[in-house]
Amino acid sequence: MGWLDTLFGRGSGRAPRGSAQVAKQRLVEVLVYDHVKVTPDVLEAIRSEMCQILSRHLDIDADRIEISIVRGEGGERLVANVPVRRTGTGRR
């Protein structure tokens, strides 16, 4: 049904999702930074410092740490997702 897809704009020449989704995502991001006034630089600094502190106590996977500010009920939250490597010999 390729020609139909082309006719109705669903074909490969188009973004995989509707532009409204893109707009919403951009809005959410821009508003988070409007509200919290945190720049990506600051977020990166938080990330690397947290990484240093956590590494003293845990074997963390520094490359996979995710830090972001998200909107939720009652305002913005800083969310950190820190994968911890399982290196001990304890029972599973």
Binding site: M1, A20, L27, V28
Partner: protein
């Protein structure tokens, strides 16, 4: 509207942050709809230096005095009130065209609103775009605020800013009007939906106005579309007026005009998103 003392009217400011989203059209039409419901209404053009509300209402040829003349005492309030051509209980105080925002102070706006409150049921203030002095003036005497936005990133971002400023001014949370929704684009996933905007702004909704060419033609003629019983946008403005009056009006479903082609394709099983 004559000397009936102290009607204890409500001062409602219509604002948006971003320019060009439909504040003036909304002010004119919600005001006309309230007046058509028998309320006494005055519209105040607070966009000093960029007078527009008179044009939308088709009253541009009747202006003698303006808002700056009133606050500076060059005329009495009633001399600056322009009576609408169609609705006897609708009046306008025009903005000054040759002055700037600094010509009026927030304190003077508060005093003006208090005076108008005695004579009218509703005082609708058309705010200028921006978040500076003109906006401050426009909300200075307000009891309530309506925020107009369009379903697009920059307009919603600015609306969010305005919501914060309104709350900082210790006014109740503003209510939202989403203007120029195009149901077809929303359906295709190419326009933010009303739900998207509401989710982001998290304030109560008071109106959804579809993009409608009848607004263009009515504005060309200087006639409020709210007085056109056939217009869908006009109905949306009448619904906003009814909600301001405390009525529980359901939101109109946004119909997508259904083309013959689409129906045929759907019948043939190419349905869904075509």
């Amino acid at each position: 509207m004559e000397e009936q003392q102290d009607r204890n009217g409500r001062v409602i400011t219509i604002t948006s942050g971003k320019g060009g989203v439909g504040k003036t059209t909304t002010t004119a039409n919600v005001g006309a709809a309230l007046a058509a419901r028998g309320k006494s209404v005055v519209l105040v053009d607070a966009d000093i230096g960029l007078r527009n509300l008179d044009i939308v209402l088709g009253l541009e040829n009747r202006i003698v005095y303006d808002i700056v003349d009133v606050v500076e005492g060059r005329c009495r309030l009633r001399q600056a009130l322009i009576r609408d051509k169609r609705l006897a209980n609708l009046a306008l105080i025009p903005a000054a065209q040759t002055r700037d925002k600094e010509a009026v102070s927030p304190e003077q706006m508060r005093e003006l609103c208090d005076e108008l409150r005695q004579q009218f049921d509703f005082i609708l203030i058309d705010s200028p775009a921006g978040i500076e002095r003109g906006f401050r003036n426009a909300i200075a005497g307000a009891d309530e605020v309506l925020v107009v936005t369009n379903p697009e990133v920059s307009a919603v971002r600015d609306a969010d800013r305005i919501v914060g400023l309104v709350e900082a001014a210790e006014l109740p949370p503003p209510r939202l009007i989403v203007n120029r929704i195009d149901p077809e684009l929303v359906r295709r996933g190419d326009m933010l939906s009303v739900d998207d905007v509401l989710e982001i702004l998290a304030i109560p909704l008071i109106g959804v106005v579809p993009a409608d060419e009848s607004i263009v033609t009515a504005t060309n003629r200087g006639e409020p579309v709210a007085l056109d019983p056939q217009s869908r946008a006009g109905q949306a403005f009448r619904d906003i007026a009814a909600r301001l009056l405390g009525e529980d009006v359901p939101f109109q479903p946004l119909e997508v005009p259904n083309g013959v082609w689409r129906r045929m394709l759907r019948a043939l099983g190419f349905g869904g998103r075509a």
